[in-house]
């Protein structure tokens, strides 16, 4: 007899498994399952046909691939979970029975989770691991500045802090920092590690409350994994630059440099076909790496020392700080060789031998990859807008005039804006005067005005024709692509609308500014 093919015995019905069943197969609690998924990087799958997978029911459930679960089943860490459960039970018993000796012995033999094999499995190469470093760094930097909590232990916080300092130190030694952005959420960094772009956020160094609507256990699990990952990455990176790991760090003082060997060069780029572009990029990167070379900075007490030291040292500058903030300042505030003094307050006793600047100057310089004029950044001055270095405007997007100006300066037309403005103003004034004179001269007389010839705007006409041609071509788009086309068109329209709106707002603002500037002059 032929074997009958039954329903739900193959295909989607067997390829997927619901979370509840997965937990049953693995014989874990939901919490442990969650932990396992986080550590192993297993995520749920969305089946195409919910009804087929649900064997008739279209109830929305979390589904995993059965193969994923089978893959989890052979994970040795599950055994550790069970050991830990037993350990906790024994420890509780010992504590309840008031047997401190047993408890101590048990504590010493607490099962330890080894995550190295998981890291190796998830990231087969170092580059893979570096590619996935964004979330890892964000979490580690967040935990490094968190206060102690019931769910977050001091050791974890200190460990995070150590690892992040190590990483910053590495970046300083290879001069890997590329972009800095002071956002409202925190400070965004972009760095280049082994040819990979790594981006992360560091929260502002201010006190904040622990939010209550957050499950710290989940975050803690992530951090547990990320700490291990970052530790191994740090080790490998340090070995790559032939530095000793762990480096000597004093946790109180922000990253110190002991450059043992300077930046390594990736040979992959050398082979790239687009050589000119690469060359230009490489030059600009080199410029950035030696941006602050020869400059000596001093950081005021009110400025966040750690981030500032990181910025300056990753661009080759020398930096010192107030001994009150941290110990071991390389030089004093009175040092004669200091060129830039970073302050973030309105008034300060100023010395003539140095520039007093606001912290934004450092970030803007790094993003522009050149030293910007300091005059806009003096203490108490109205700062130019701080632009995001992460925005790459494509055609039709709005580009803020400040960015245009910066880019224009970069190209080489370094002409004093003020001079231009002045000359423009003068020209305008002249025009106005002339007009006024004319007005005085003009006396209304009876006259015949010659009729103007209604000239057809050739450009407009051509555009109209072109529009019609495109409309006709749109008609001939095959049905398959019509939807995509309309979508793209819609997006295009939206961006133009937004750009237009922003432009209008800017114009309005500039008009207002002009009026405000002129108003006091008239009074005077």
């Amino acid at each position: 007899m032929v074997n009958r093919k039954r329903k739900n015995e193959s295909g989607a019905a067997t390829a997927f498994i619901s979370r509840g069943k997965a937990i049953k197969i693995l014989q874990l609690s939901l919490q442990d399952f969650r932990r396992l998924c986080i550590l192993k990087g297993i995520y749920p799958q969305e089946p195409k046909h919910l009804k087929k997978v649900g064997k008739g029911s279209s109830e929305p459930k979390t589904y995993y691939f059965l193969k994923d679960i089978q893959f989890l089943k052979s994970e040795p860490i599950i055994e550790k979970f069970r050991d830990y459960k037993v350990f906790v039970r024994k420890l509780n018993t010992a504590v309840a029975k008031k047997e401190p000796g047993t408890a101590r012995r048990l504590r010493r033999s607490r099962p330890v989770f080894e995550l190295a094999h998981i890291i190796r499995e998830r990231y087969p190469t170092l580059v893979d691991a570096v590619r996935d470093l964004d979330d890892c760094l964000t979490m580690c930097f967040l935990f490094a500045c968190m206060p102690k909590n019931q769910k977050i232990h001091t050791e974890q916080i200190q460990f995070c802090r150590r690892l992040t300092l190590e990483f910053m130190k590495y970046l300083i030694s290879i001069r890997g920092l590329r972009k800095v952005f002071y956002a409202i959420q925190g400070i965004y960094y972009e760095a280049e590690v082994l040819g990979q772009t790594v981006t992360w956020v560091v929260p502002h160094k201010v006190a904040y409350e622990h939010p209550t609507d957050v499950d710290y256990r989940i975050m803690s699990t992530f951090v547990e994994f990320y700490c291990q990952l970052l530790g191994f990455i740090n080790f490998s990176l340090y070995t790559k630059i032939e530095a000793r790991y762990p480096p000597e760090l004093t946790l109180e003082v922000p990253s110190e440099i002991q450059v043992e060997s300077l930046a390594i060069k990736d040979e992959i780029y050398e082979e790239s076909a687009n050589k000119d572009k690469w060359k230009a990029e490489q030059e600009s990167v080199e410029r950035l790496q030696s941006l602050f070379e020869g400059l000596r900075f001093f950081i005021g007490r009110e400025v966040d020392c750690e981030s500032m030291v990181f910025h300056i040292r990753s661009c080759g500058g020398e930096v010192s700080w107030d001994n009150i903030v941290h110990e071991d300042a390389p030089y004093d505030a009175d040092d004669k060789r200091i060129t830039h003094h970073i302050v973030d307050r309105k008034q300060i006793e100023q010395s003539f031998s140095r520039y007093y600047i606001q912290p934004q100057w450092v970030a803007d310089c790094i993003n522009a990859r050149r030293l910007l004029p300091v005059k806009d950044y003096f203490p108490g001055a109205v700062l130019p807008p701080h632009l995001s270095p992460f925005v790459n405007e494509s055609d039709g997007d709005y580009v803020p005039p400040d960015k245009k100006r910066l880019m224009g300066e970069e190209v080489g037309s370094v002409v004093g804006d003020k001079q231009e403005e002045i000359s423009e103003d003068k020209a305008e004034n002249k025009d106005k005067k002339k007009k006024e004179e004319k007005n005085e001269e003009e006396v209304p007389k009876m006259s015949v005005v010659a009729g103007a010839v209604e000239c057809i705007d050739a450009g407009k006409k051509r555009k109209k024709e072109e529009d019609e041609v495109t409309r006709l071509r749109e008609m001939a788009i095959p049905k398959k692509q019509k939807r995509l086309y309309s979508k793209l068109k819609y997006r295009q329209k939206k961006t133009t609308q937004e750009a237009k709106k922003l432009e209008e707002k800017r114009q309005k603002y500039e008009l207002g500014e002009k009026k405000r500037k002129q108003a006091p002059k008239k009074i005077a």
């Binding site: 998924c37 986080i38 990087g41 995520y43 749920p44 969305e46 979390t62 010493r108 890291i119 190796r120 499995e121 998830r122 990231y123 087969p124 190469t125 590619r131 996935d132 964000t138 979490m139 952005f181 002071y182 409202i184 959420q185 965004y188 981006t199 929260p203 502002h204 201010v206 904040y208 409350e209 622990h210 939010p211 957050v214 975050m219 291990q228 530790g231 191994f232 740090n234 080790f235 490998s236 790991y245 973030d344 701080h386 632009l387 995001s388 803020p400 005039p401 041609v469 409309r471 006709l472 071509r473 008609m475 001939a476 788009i477 049905k479 995509l484 793209l488 068109k489 707002k505 603002y509």
Partner: protein
Amino acid sequence: MASIARKRQREILENKTEIPPTTEDVANVAEPSKGELSTLKKDEYEHDSSDEEDVKNTIGNVPLKWYDEYDHIGYDVQGEKITKPQKGDEIDEFLQKNDNPNYWRTVIDPHTGKPVVLTDEDITLVKNFVEGRFTEPGVDPFPPSIDFFTYEKMIHPVTNHPDQKRSFIPSRLEMKKVGQFVDALKSGRMKMSEPEKDSDEELDEKLPTFYQLWSNEGESSATRRYRQFIPAPKNHLPGHAESYNPPPEYLFDEQEKQEWKAKEPSERRLPFIPKSHSSLREVCGYPRFVNDVFRRCLDLYLLPRQVKMRPNIRAEDLLPKLPQPRDLQPFPTTQAMVYEGHTGPVLCISVEPSGHRLVSGSADNSLRFWDVASGRCLGIVKFSHAVKDVAWNPNAAVSCIAAAVNNEVLVVETNLVYETENEMLHLEAEEDSESSGNSLPVTWTLVKSGSEYENGIRLKITHPKVVHTVVWHKKGDYFAVVMKEAESMPVFIHQLSKRKSQNPLKKPKDPVQTVMFHPTKPYFFVATQRYVKQYDLMKQELMKKLLTNCQWVSSVDIHPGGENLILGSYDKRFCWFDLALSAKPYKMLKHHQKAIRQVCYHKTYPLFASASDDGTVIICHGMVYNDFALNPLIVPVKILRGHKVCDGIGVLDCEFHPKQPWIFSSGADCTVRLFY
């Protein structure tokens, strides 16, 4: 404590009962201790006598209160009742208390109910007991200990036993056990407990040690997991608006602020209102930072991942590469003439084969003849009903038109226009009888005189239902009519010369919309609502059925070459069929916004047009190549606007000029227009 002591006393007293009192009478007991001692010495077997005991208590071990109601307590050997000892009343008690010096040491025996005076010994015992001392006097609680084994080494052994053999040969059991441990240690099953360390050292121990994890990257494929891992998408990177000091145009004005507040948090593009800080020190902490990171964590392990290909293409690249319309000229581009005069929607137009004259039929029950070049109305023919369709005879020699008015088809001689007369239209049909013998529900009437004759009407063909369409054969002798409402025999083919009618379709399944003659071959096309059927008139059979994919076909036209067919439908679709290629449309366009009313080919130029209810006529370039390998090239070249849309109806009919690349169109706005 006191209560406990009392209890103990009672127990003692109970024990005491076993010791028989020496005297029966309480009063007799004057000197208890000495007397007792003397009696003991006198008669040492007195206690052994069981008689006496019997005498004292014969009731056995039962509570005395059972005898409360009686005067006696039990019976003696003789069966006499033993009377209860006299129990005095309260006064006696009081007197006893005062008089009797031994009253304090007198207790009642619970077994016999007799008073017993306690001896001095008893008192001492009780006292010792109460005070927690040994009851027996003279007991030393801590006697000096005499060690059996001394610390000094003696010359003689304590025991005389010889040592056992097993005490001086190594234990095999222990050896086995040690072996097991060693094995376990070697294999790593067991670990030596580490020596305890200081707390600092322990802290250092807790920090995990790292090593070179990715030392041999060549082996990476071995550790790769079975399935390609989809990395999580990167986090959103901040734009200018998220800066602590954004450009002023990114700050919200009042209206934007309100819009932002009115939106749901998930719908907002920015999670906060952009704010400008004059310096970095003014930036306060972002309160949602931890929540954002937590959200990201949840996304990482809870959300399913999918690889989605984002089209990396510009919208302009999707536009098909077509030749420029100006390279495909000539085609009509501008409106040249408007033929005004009708008072109702112009339902149909037809152009004279030479292209000098134009006839239009309207809903105002009239037919108008126009001079194409000047736009002058040359003549009007009035009817009682709206003119549904009009068609000019393609044979220039027979200058007449066929007009569908109500259920009649009228053949109008166009001498109005040319001042010539056709003999054919005046002759009586010879085979009149034959045609009547066919018993078709069609009657031919020759108009010979009267006002109708004056108007030029020469023939009248009456049909059972309202006639909607009239189509001439190319030679100009045959013409076909369609009655959309007729269920049976909706199509007739009339022969003008012989005044004969034929009915090709008896009872089609679908209602017929329109019909068409093949330009060169004896084929006949019938368009029903959904299909177009091609019949061979010679063989009288169905050749092909075209699947239009439309819901309601409105009009059909055939390419002069006869190999291609276009079709318009009321559901906005326009189809081009290559008859040699397939029964399905070669190309389908949806270029009109509303229903298509009419489609037509140009006779000489590679042009075709479609007229729609949206008030436009779209001209397309439709090149058909002689080479069969090349597919027809279809390019929309011009949208002609001019007709106004009245009550949702725009252009009703369109037709190309037979020689020039011009097009005539008629619309619901009572005009006929010429574009060139």
